[in-house]
Symmetry: C2
Subunit: 316 residues, 2 copies
DNA sequence: CTGAAAGCGCTAACAG
DNA sequence: CTGTTAGCGCTTTCAG
């Protein structure tokens, strides 16, 4: 395709004049303007974005680290980011990592190699010590709390929310309470869930904890593992409504009534939970994503807490 | 940050040698290799991606046109694309358009301005006449059938699937059948739905057609509009399981039994439908996305049909 | 095996 | 108001 030199030559002007009309910079005489525009239209010319970004040292593109692309929680945050990016005319790159350390670093390298102006971390697996140095190459915002001054965050008080949910279950008379979490104990939210559980129920019975839960099928598996135990739990806290739905389905399949035989509370107010009438701890992940985006483009390192909500529904 | 010249100077070699070790091209003497690598490590150097892409005339990045970012069907296709892109080490840009004509064109311009190697269209609003010319700038693959030889497609036979679903309802004795669709009549799938409806039921009663349905809330609205009619429909085909879930919820709210009082069949086998036991016409959108991605990187203009499945569940 | 030099396509400081 | 020119940072002929 034609380039800016070609346009300049054909219009009988210099490239800087063409550049000026392209970006309507300063003043260009009306006749040259028109001449340039005519050639641009004739040749159906579009400036090369890579060249522009290269020289401007800015891409107006931000990346979103998403360990998995089939996890509804990450999707919710991504949607929040997209909501804002479209308003602000920014582009977003989706960066799947599978929680792989080196794949994750490759993503951060896109900050260093100038391909991205900023990165939003929905979840990570490298330690902050490794990641923080990348902040000198571009804005980094996390969707979890961290006190590193170089990192902005849009976070929720997960610990408080878990405490409140467990307290709720205890108040309703439950003492045998099971729960599900995502990754094993290396995950921050898993740690906080266990900590809150101990805080409310005193001890931590490993048999009541099912890890690696993300989607409905994982909930079915959790149901199978939990609901045939000698001392069957009377309530379960699921780390997502899809997981909760799987548990619900399994429970109904073996003739258990919800909430009479099993109380269920899920997380993130996902559609399936609304459909099934499942109570849910809603961390407002869409808002988290929106806030994260706002921080990125303001190059702000503020720490913004997004309040959580609890939706009480029939399942409890 | 340091650039390739800096590395060359410090390593006492030319930039071409640095480039060679960077891309391990041809042979470089071991001593120079080591010298260059040492400087690279010392300076923590990373090549600028924009400069590389600019000169290589390739970005290994593809865009996915997604009219809305809160629509589960588009999400399913995006997930398919991401599944493959991560395997093939491609990057994906999400391009929200809101079905706005000029915003959509802006996205196609990213092909022309060399920012993208290809574009996958999950849904579009410009006519093919406008869009096809962009195929000369990069690969375009659609997730719907088109016979334009320049456009590859990963499509499903929507018409056949609608026919089968409506036939199923008729066979089960339903004659008052309502249905929901997405956008108004300008959308291809809406047209096909109406056509199939007429084919099976003879005429097309506008009162039984609710448009602009995407999510659960739209289903609630559809339920409200449909289920208080004098001649209440006995069955409804919903263009998505989230919409179906909304209708289900509304129906249960006014004491209707499913399927006794109202049979419901949804679409795309989404989690909420699985949770509620809703029958579903599954166009396998994740596979569609995967196939679309494969076509893009093979630069293939083939037309690949993805078969649909019908999941029979209690709601029918 | 290695380096010089010519770009890729664009912006912006500077001089006029 | 306009043109010249020096880059942005990299790859790749083409000689040697």
């Amino acid at each position: 395709m034609a380039n800016i030199n070609e346009i300049a030559k054909r219009a009988g002007v210099s490239v800087s004049t063409v550049s000026r009309v392209l970006n309507n910079h300063s003043y260009v005489s009306e006749e040259k303007r028109v001449a340039v525009q005519r050639v641009i239209d004739e040749l159906d010319y579009t400036p090369n974005r890579l060249a522009v970004d290269l020289i401007r040292q800015e891409t107006r593109t931000i990346g979103v680290i998403m360990p998995y692309n089939n996890n509804p929680a990450f999707d919710q945050m991504l949607h929040g980011v997209l909501n804002r990016s479209v308003e602000q005319d920014y582009t977003v790159m989706v960066l799947p990592t599978k929680y792989d350390l080196s794949k994750e670093l490759d993503c951060f390298n896109r900050l260093k190699n100038k391909q991205l102006d900023g990165i939003i971390i929905t979840s990570r697996s490298n330690s902050w010590d490794i990641l923080v140095p990348y902040a000198k190459y571009g804005a980094i915002v996390a969707c979890e709390y961290t006190d590193h001054p170089e990192i902005g965050c849009a976070y929720m008080d997960r610990y408080a929310s878990y405490l409140e949910a467990f307290r709720l279950l205890r108040e309703r008379g439950h003492s045998r309470v099971a729960f599900t979490t995502a990754r094993g104990t290396e995950s921050n939210s898993t740690k906080l869930t266990i900590k809150a559980y101990k805080q409310i129920f005193g001890d931590y019975p490993p048999a009541y904890h099912i890890g690696d839960c993300y989607r409905l099928e994982d909930g079915l598996r959790a149901g199978e593992q939990l609901l045939h135990a000698a001392l069957r739990p009377t309530a379960v806290y699921a780390n997502g409504d899809e997981v909760a739905a799987g548990i619900y389905q399994y429970a109904r399949g073996i003739q258990l009534e919800v909430p009479e035989d099993l109380a269920i509370i899920g997380q993130e107010n996902q559609t399936v939970g609304i459909g099934l009438g499942l109570a849910s701890v809603d961390h407002q992940l869409v808002k988290v994503g929106e806030q994260a985006f706002d921080l990125i483009i303001q190059k702000s390192k503020n720490k913004i807490e997004i309040p959580y909500k609890i939706h009480l529904r029939q399942s409890i």
